[in-house]
């Protein structure tokens, strides 16, 4: 099981390191930093999804369940749900702003990973990195019940009566 250091925080640290070292600043590293920032936000949702479960590292069945729930989040579905969460007024400003950041970073990451003609600017990614750090800090400082509810809304597909044959 993972240490208390969150993977989402590590992704932000890696992105920051790519931007801080002048010898590392290149087209490829700006693209990778953009991708790192998106995955920081993505993994934060996954981490929030399993957070209420606690940790039982010696229990194999628990580990299987933990991994399965952690991996439920789908990129496109999460984007649509974050868009709804950002606009619905149902969530606190911390969660609503995290949702907006997720949508932003997801689209930037797709260009970074797949668009060969897209140009990346150091100042833009530095600003994205500063915003991601602030948003993640606010996300983890927000009410834990609301965070869990948000993670379920964004990360788990709703099961309808039709799905369960009723």
């Amino acid at each position: 099981m993972r240490s208390p250091l969150r993977l989402s925080d590590e992704f932000v640290r890696v992105a920051q390191a790519r931007l801080d070292d002048k010898n590392l600043v290149s087209e490829a590293n700006l693209r990778r930093a953009t991708s790192d920032l998106y995955y920081a936000a993505f993994h934060a949702i996954c981490e929030a999804l399993v957070e209420p479960l606690g940790l039982h590292p010696d229990n194999a069945a628990f580990k299987e369940m933990y991994v399965n729930i952690y991996r439920q989040t789908e990129h496109g579905y999460a984007e649509r749900r974050c868009n709804s969460a950002a606009k619905s007024g149902d969530y606190s400003p911390e969660i609503a702003r995290f949702s907006k950041l997720f949508v932003t970073l997801k689209n930037k990451r797709e260009n970074a990973d797949y668009h060969p003609l897209e140009q990346f600017k150091l100042s833009v990614i530095r600003n994205d990195c500063a915003m991601t750090k602030t948003r993640l800090n606010s996300f983890w400082a927000s009410n834990s019940e609301e965070r869990a509810a948000f993670a379920c809304y964004v990360g788990l597909r709703a099961i309808t009566r039709k799905d369960v044959g009723q």
Binding site: H75, R80, E110, Y114, S123, A130, T134
Partner: protein, 87 residues
Amino acid sequence: MSEKLYEIASNILGNHRVLSVESKLEENRDGNKVILVKIIYTEKDGLTVDEMDRVLDAIWSDENAETTAFPVIDFQADSDEEPVAAE
């Protein structure tokens, strides 16, 4: 659309700090409409996260037809015009 976005950004950041705002509508890989917004600001004044948040909130809450698309915003310094060389 860009004029409206310029007005939003300059109302928050001040006219003297916002040099230009460009926008274009696209469809992303998941078929969702996205409005890509580039705000060029004067680097000497810098931008705080709080200022960027307020611009983002204002653009996200602007409910005209085109902003039903997901806003994706770049805050770019005016000194950062040269492309970074590929490795």
